[in-house]
């Protein structure tokens, strides 16, 4: 059986039964989406790394205690844990000051070591920065729904429950978020 065809549920089951390799496969499968979600929430790569670790340590503890019972919904479950940890972080630190450049960008994100050429890195970071800046221009409520739905893969119903609003409100915020992003793209002459 191809590894990428094994469901999250099977991997979780095998991990709980003692197969450590299954956790690594799960993390590798979802790490980018989860990290992107956290990073967009906290807007700081160092804090995002810490929260990413904390999130998975909590995931591990819950799995070992057999507290996970959400059939086939691993990624939304992890996203909810990550979001709660991010909220706790802001409560504790009252928004830590970020190290940013003149545009308000997180400078350490750009220092990421990779196998890309310099030119590839510049193009990628420019493209990422454009999208991230546009997302950051959205009102908080719209931004939150967009991050949780698009990157965190929570359903609109789950987002509505989590943020204590109706599903129509969650959908409305997402509609406004996408409309605003489209306008920002047109304004910046970005081709979608």
């Amino acid at each position: 059986m191809q590894l990428n065809k094994i469901s999250d549920q099977k991997l979780l089951k095998q991990y709980v039964q003692g197969n450590e390799a299954c956790l690594e496969m799960l993390i590798n499968r979802h790490k980018d989406r989860i990290f992107t979600t956290i990073y967009l929430i906290v807007k700081d790569s160092y804090i995002a790394e810490d929260l990413f670790q904390e999130t998975f340590i909590k995931v591990i503890k819950n799995l070992k205690k057999k507290k996970y019972n959400e059939e086939g919904k691993f990624l939304p479950w992890v996203t909810r844990i990550a979001r709660n940890l991010a909220i706790d972080h802001f409560r504790k630190k009252q928004r830590m000051p970020m190290v940013t450049d003149s545009h308000g960008d997180d400078v350490f994100r750009k220092m990421k070591i990779s196998t890309e050429t310099r030119e590839q890195t510049i193009i990628r970071t420019e493209r990422e920065d454009e999208v991230r800046r546009m997302i950051n221009q959205l009102p908080d409520e719209q931004r939150q729904v967009l991050i949780l739905r698009h990157y965190g893969e929570l359903s609109f119903k789950e987002i509505a429950d989590l943020t204590d609003v109706s599903i129509n409100t969650a959908l409305g915020r997402m509609r406004y978020a996408l409309n605003n992003l489209r306008k920002l793209m047109e304004h910046s002459h970005i081709k979608a």
Binding site: K64, K112, I135, H150, F156, L178
Partner: protein
């Protein structure tokens, strides 16, 4: 724009059966109010099967809806361009934590 939509909509490729709906159902579809929320839910694959068929069928015959749906997919595509990765150190820390938790058990 309609041609563009047909070429780029994976939903048509995944739901070819909807193209063969009978005329009665098609008329029924035309009578239903398709909202922006429906398009959003379709784009994120959250519609139940019946509603999904109605929305896809309405899209087939409504240029305005096609344009709206295309706009949603276009922004979603742009959002997909932003994806950042955690450091390998973070992954190692997590896996070590898992191993030690396993030893304790």
């Amino acid at each position: 724009m309609g041609g563009y939509f047909f070429l780029h909509s994976e939903y048509y490729l995944k739901n070819l059966d909807v193209l063969f709906l009978n005329d009665e159902l098609k008329r029924d579809c035309m009578d239903k109010n398709i909202t922006q929320n429906d398009l959003l839910l379709l784009a994120y694959n959250e519609l139940d099967t019946n509603r999904k068929l109605l929305v896809i069928n309405a899209l087939e015959s409504n240029l305005s809806l096609q344009n709206e749906y295309h706009d949603i997919l276009a922004v979603m595509g742009k959002l997909d361009e932003f994806q950042v990765q955690p450091n390998n150190t973070s992954l190692q820390i997590i896996l070590e934590e898992s191993s030690s938790a396993m030893e304790v058990l």
